[in-house]
């Protein structure tokens, strides 16, 4: 018994040690770069690879949180991030007249602008949730996609509030120009990413977080128990909107501008791709997926397969990679490692029965409580319970 408990605590220590090690490496990352590269290259690796991955990771994290703990794969997250970015721009810019003659801009400093943006992104998330929580499963995916694509066309057509196809430029964050002070900008991104990751990890252990998961697993039973299911779904959306908003705020400070291109369909899909590459059921996968995505993006030009250069064809490369991941590793790369590791352990231990398909599909939920962190469930495992009444009139 004591042996077991020591093994457990050893494992717990290892599990706590791994994130701490990861954060330590991320803190050291920009400090090591100047030793390896020239100043220009170090800046590139700090900003375009490091900060960019963190920013994309945070928005993918919001998607993974919603899918893993809420059972809802939302395609509206990139749009919520973009919405927050637009609000930062509008609050931050000095009053000026737009193409239609309306005056827009409040001239607020960066931080208050960001706070307003985060509040509005949370509310916008709740609004999307209020519309979308009436559907479920695959309808939900379609509905949030429709909202996302619709938002793109709204900002593209609307000059009064969103500046039309031009958008807004010259938006500075609290650290100033990212290029002028890349390390400060990087640490700001890292702080936000760690805050979002740990915050969500904490949240899922609270009463509210556990209720979210109960609603995910059995909405009918929760409704029968007197919980307000749709209100909880809206709350998940609001939290998802807040986290996506964090990414949007960092993103607009990173780019210095905002235009409809930042919320178009391909950005929406990018966030999904990042989450799927990392693993829809694994919060840390958001950041791993983001790093892989950014590195593919940067180095696509040097990839050559059978004489076919992906120089201009990054999208083809990422599309192929995406299809392959969904085919061979539907739980993402983190899922591949995690499940591969568990499978090896299972095969090595003779006391346990070999894994059945059902057990494998139950995924990380199996050892949910051993580290006190409830495991998310990958919605990719959810199967269509059978055709239910979608009929032809």
């Amino acid at each position: 018994m004591s042996g077991m408990s020591s093994r457990m605590s050893g494992r717990a220590a290892r599990r706590a040690g791994l994130p701490a090690l990861g954060v330590a490496l991320l803190v050291l990352y920009p400090l090591v770069l100047p030793l390896l590269f020239s100043a220009n290259q170090a800046r590139y690796w700090t900003l375009s690879i490091g900060s960019n991955s963190l920013i994309l990771g945070v928005v993918a994290l919001s998607l993974i949180f919603m899918s893993g703990y809420g059972g809802m794969v939302s395609l509206a997250q990139a749009s919520l991030a973009g919405f927050a970015a637009y609000i930062v721009a509008i609050m931050n810019l000095l009053p000026s007249s737009t193409a239609t003659g309306a005056t827009i801009g409040f001239g607020w400093p960066p931080i208050p602008s960001a706070i307003v943006a985060l509040i509005l992104a949370t509310l916008a998330g709740a609004l999307v949730g209020a519309i979308a929580s009436r559907s479920s499963g695959i309808y939900f995916l379609m509905l949030t996609l429709a909202i996302a694509v619709g938002f793109f066309y709204v900002v593209l057509q609307n000059y009064e509030f969103f500046g039309g196809h031009i958008g807004f430029a010259q938006i500075l964050g609290p650290t100033g120009q990212p290029r002028a002070n890349p390390i400060a900008f990087y640490y700001m991104c890292l702080a936000v990413a760690v805050f979002a990751y740990l915050g969500l990890r904490y949240l899922v252990r609270t009463q509210l977080g556990l209720t979210f998961q109960a609603v995910r697993d059995n909405p009918r039973r929760m409704r029968a128990l007197g919980y307000r299911v749709s209100l909880h779904r809206i709350a998940i959306f609001a939290i998802g909107g807040f986290v996506a908003g964090l990414s949007g705020v960092l993103g607009v400070w990173y780019r210095g501008n905002i235009s409809p291109g930042v919320v178009d369909l391909s950005r929406t899909i990018d966030v999904l791709i990042i989450a799927v590459i990392g693993g829809l059921g694994y919060p840390v996968g958001a950041f791993i997926g983001a790093v892989i995505f950014v590195i593919l993006d940067v180095f696509a030009s040097s990839v050559e397969v059978f004489g076919f250069s992906f120089d201009e064809r990054f999208n083809t490369l990422i599309g192929l990679a995406f299809v392959v991941i969904v085919l061979v590793a539907p739980h993402g790369l983190v899922g591949l490692v995690d499940r591969g590791w568990k499978g090896t352990k299972r095969r090595l231990s003779s006391s346990r029965a070999p894994a059945t398909a059902g057990e494998a599909a139950a995924g990380p939920a199996g050892d949910a409580t051993e580290e006190g962190i409830p495991a998310p469930v990958d919605p990719i495992d959810q199967r269509d319970p059978g055709s239910t009444g979608i009929g032809n009139s």
């Binding site: 559907s135 609307n158 999208n315 539907p330 199967r383 059978g386 979608i390 032809n392």
Partner: protein, 292 residues
């Protein structure tokens, strides 16, 4: 006739003819979803591909109808390949299927961009419908013959699909499969083959509508998002898997977009979404959809 009224009639006619296109696009989407429960996220990309097939075939042969046929056949062959090669292996896993089709859509659109570039192509209409016809109450007294012809095409597609669904054996299987797949399979019907037929038909309709859309409007590679969105909104409003729902949804969305574009240009998309949210609030399953 006052100017306001001729404006309104013209705008409505634009809306109805646009609805005809939306219906043809969305009919394939809703058929596939209704039976297979596969959300074909590549539907917009298939529209784009069909349009480019039409552009090339019409440019080579000079025959519009051949372009239409080629758009249907080639895209439905691609649909067969996608279904047999990828989707059939993950039947029932609807999220995974949706993800795979997203990947395919990215590849199709990117390769279209590589081959045709970012410029807009326009397919010349068949000679019979090349000009304008005189009709009363519209601005200028004349209206594009091809856009009117789209109404005929949409009606023909509706009729053909209705006949297939209600008057043929495979249509009977499709209707039965929509209600209860497992029971249909238990009765000895080769459900896999029915699925394949429906997927090929739906993909072909997307390809065909691309040719029609490229003739009436124009085609650029990034059009896929717009037509995927239109299909989604049309079937969300009309009800998933329902042919009549797709027709009603297309009419509502086509009219709302054109009326919005004329009277409140910067809010036209917004109106579409207010309608969608409104329908969902009252009838989450869509106007003609059965409750899930």
């Amino acid at each position: 006739m006052s100017k306001d009224l001729t404006d309104f009639v013209t705008v409505c006619l634009n809306g109805v003819t646009l609805a005809a296109l939306y219906f043809i696009v969305a009919s394939g989407f809703t058929l596939i979803f209704g039976l297979l429960r596969t959300t074909n996220m590549a539907h917009g990309a298939m529209y784009v591909l069909g349009a480019y097939v039409g552009v090339s075939v019409v440019a080579i042969t000079g025959e519009w109808w051949l372009g239409l046929l080629a758009g249907f056949v080639l895209v439905s062959l691609l649909g067969i390949a996608i279904h047999l090669g990828l989707l059939a292996w993950m039947a029932g896993q609807d999220l995974r299927q949706a993800l795979v089709t997203i990947g395919i859509a990215i590849i199709i659109v990117d390769l279209s961009l590589a081959h045709y570039g970012g410029v807009a192509y326009l397919i010349p209409p068949p000679e019979l419908f090349a000009g304008a016809v005189s009709i009363p109450w519209v601005v200028g007294g004349q209206y594009s013959a091809f856009r009117l012809f789209m109404l005929v095409l949409a009606a023909a597609v509706y009729l053909a699909l209705w006949l297939i669904l209600n008057r043929t054996r495979i249509g009977m299987y499709i209707r039965a499969g929509i209600d209860d797949r497992d029971m249909l399979s238990a009765l000895g019907v080769n459900v896999a083959r029915v699925f394949l037929f429906v997927f090929a038909l739906g993909a072909g309709l997307a390809g065909m509508s691309g040719v029609i859309g490229a003739t009436a409007l124009s085609i650029t590679p990034n059009e896929d998002g717009w037509f995927l969105l239109s299909s989604l909104v049309v079937v969300i409003v009309g009800g998933m898997g329902s042919l009549g729902g797709a027709a009603i949804g297309a009419l509502i969305i086509g009219l709302a977009q054109q009326i919005g574009l004329f009277y409140a240009p910067t809010y036209s998309i917004f109106i579409t979404f207010v309608i969608m949210a409104g329908v969902l609030a009252v009838r989450p399953q869509g106007l003609l959809g059965k409750p899930a």
